[in-house]
């Protein structure tokens, strides 16, 4: 009973951490530009796929990690420079469609380049499971949780204790006012795309030894990250982390206790319920619109 529950909880938290990283990515871009980046999931996929590629080339793990985060970050910046910046101030529908276009291009290129096979990455430190009260925990899960926790702390420090971080926050509150006090808002946009792509890619690399990866995993992972961001209240950093963990845990519990066939439907049922009953998310404040 308890063992079963713990088992579901462990797997839920592990996947949830990936969703949390993706949700943080959505939040960063949304705050800087009010764009919902539907290509976020492709960065998760890119991270995993590139890590596999670099690992097969025989590079050491730290180099694999670094490269598989750096390349998606560059791709993220390219998307921002080539596709988002030229249409500054466009309508929501236009921006959504552009990021969907970007995601199709990224996914299609990877499919042509690396094929449609499923790939796996060796776990960072062995596959010997750890036994906790009858449930088993993979060492890779600890890596996922540990690194996610580190990233969250680092982000908190960045946004609260550094000038650059505060500049980004200021831009998300009021772009014009931020420009007036001398903040380079196009740098903020640049940084938010780079950081959010890097966060997504990191999540993708960490989870690949557990769930494997292929060219098309980005759609589902991205959409679930998006659900997590909305559950936490779009634009709220802490909410994104809690939302990610919550979506992961509910999904694992649902798969375990209700139906594993409908596992992927659970986050989307959740989003419909949240939109109906708590449209600002669990942590979103009340908002008013200026005319």
């Amino acid at each position: 009973m308890l063992a079963e529950f713990l088992q579901f909880l462990f797997s839920g938290i592990t996947v949830g951490a990936t969703y949390a990283l993706a949700a943080l990515g959505f939040t960063l871009i949304y705050n800087a530009s009010h764009v919902i980046n539907f290509a976020q999931g492709e960065f998760i996929m890119l991270g995993g796929m590139l890590a596999v590629l670099f690992a097969q080339m025989g590079l050491p793990l730290p180099a694999v990690l670094l490269l598989a985060i750096l390349v998606p970050a560059i791709v993220g910046v390219l998307v921002e420079k080539l596709a988002i910046e030229p249409v500054k101030g466009a309508e929501t529908v236009t921006l959504i469609i552009i990021t969907i276009g970007a995601s199709l291009v990224i996914r299609g290129l990877i499919q042509v380049w690396l094929g449609k096979n499923t790939f796996s990455l060796p776990a960072f430190s062995g596959d010997e499971p750890i036994h906790v009260l009858g449930a088993t925990l993979l060492p890779q899960s600890l890596w996922v949780l540990g690194i996610t926790a580190l990233v969250v702390v680092a982000l908190w420090y960045f946004f609260n204790r550094t000038l650059q971080g505060k500049a980004m926050l200021a831009t998300s509150v009021n772009r014009l006012a931020a420009e007036l006090v001398g903040i380079n808002t196009s740098w903020v946009l640049f940084m938010s795309f780079a950081m959010s792509a890097a966060l997504g890619a990191l999540g993708g690399i960490l989870i690949t030894p557990i769930t494997m990866t292929s060219y098309d995993v980005g759609i589902m992972l991205g959409l679930k990250g998006f659900v997590a961001a909305v559950v936490g209240g779009l634009g709220n950093g802490l909410g994104a982390v809690v939302g990610g963990l919550l979506v992961g845990i509910l999904e694992a519990m649902g798969a375990g206790y209700i139906s594993s066939a409908y596992k992927d439907a659970i986050p989307f049922v959740l989003i419909l319920l949240i939109l109906f009953f708590m449209p600002r998310g669990l942590f979103g404040g009340k908002s008013t619109d200026r005319v």
Binding site: A83, S103, L104, V105, G108, Q111, V230, P279, V291
Partner: protein, 312 residues
Amino acid sequence: MNKRIYYGLYGLIVILLVLPFVVPNNFYLDLAVRMAINAIIVIGLNLLIGFAGQISLGHAGFLGIGAYASAVLPMHFGWHPVTAMLTGALASALLAALVAKPIFKLKGHYLAMATLGLGIIINIALRNEAQWTGGPDGMPVMPMALFGFEIGSDRQWYWVVAALLVLTVWGSLNLIDSPFGRALRALHGSEVASQVVGVNVARYKVSIFVLSAFSASIMGSISAHYIGFISPNFADFFHSIELVTMVVIGGMASVYGSIVGAVLLTALPQALATFEGWETVAFGAILMLCMIFMPRGLVPTLAARFSKGDDK
């Protein structure tokens, strides 16, 4: 309102009448039927995206409901195909209304999220309820019969779909020009302003969303009968994106643009068949380039170029 907007309709009728006599073989006739089916769906979706300024990322879900109603109800329960089709359409409309009512009180991205979630749930259900739907492998669909007369050949289907297309274009042009249509255009321009002059914003948006879901469901049924086979891919996220792409390329808020978008993108996979594997890249690139350089879409952009200062 001037009558010239209807010239396009007369042109369309002429093209549709002549087309079956000039196409070299059935391959092109089949292509024409699929273009017309897509055009009707896209016109409905465009009323939502172009006129109400809302985006549906789960429209293929409604197609799926219609298609599977037409497949499952006659096959497992012996229903008449027409009853099955209407039941599917009513179910889609009801679902759309249920989802849209609370959502449209909100602004921004929320309908996109809700429709996306809805579409994915429908698709997962279709894949999993294999005892009814055949699961991921899909299922055959029984032929459509009207008054004891079975619609079977490509040519018969062509006339049915062509007539529906003309009706849809005519109906949409009238709708846009009606008080309902003017209210829709107003709320796309400025929601607050239209509220101030007494337009019930939420109600109009719900109505147009329900209408587009109904029309998508009917066309889902018709595609299912026409192809004679249906699989969950028909209702997946990528198909929803394809439909949005057609709207965007042809031109938002343009009825004729919807037809152009549907024709171009239905032909595209045939044209790209030689570049196996590159379809996704091409699709994405076209979407992005179109939005960056021609945010209003093909038809409105060209129309503006040819009739400078001569607003329709």
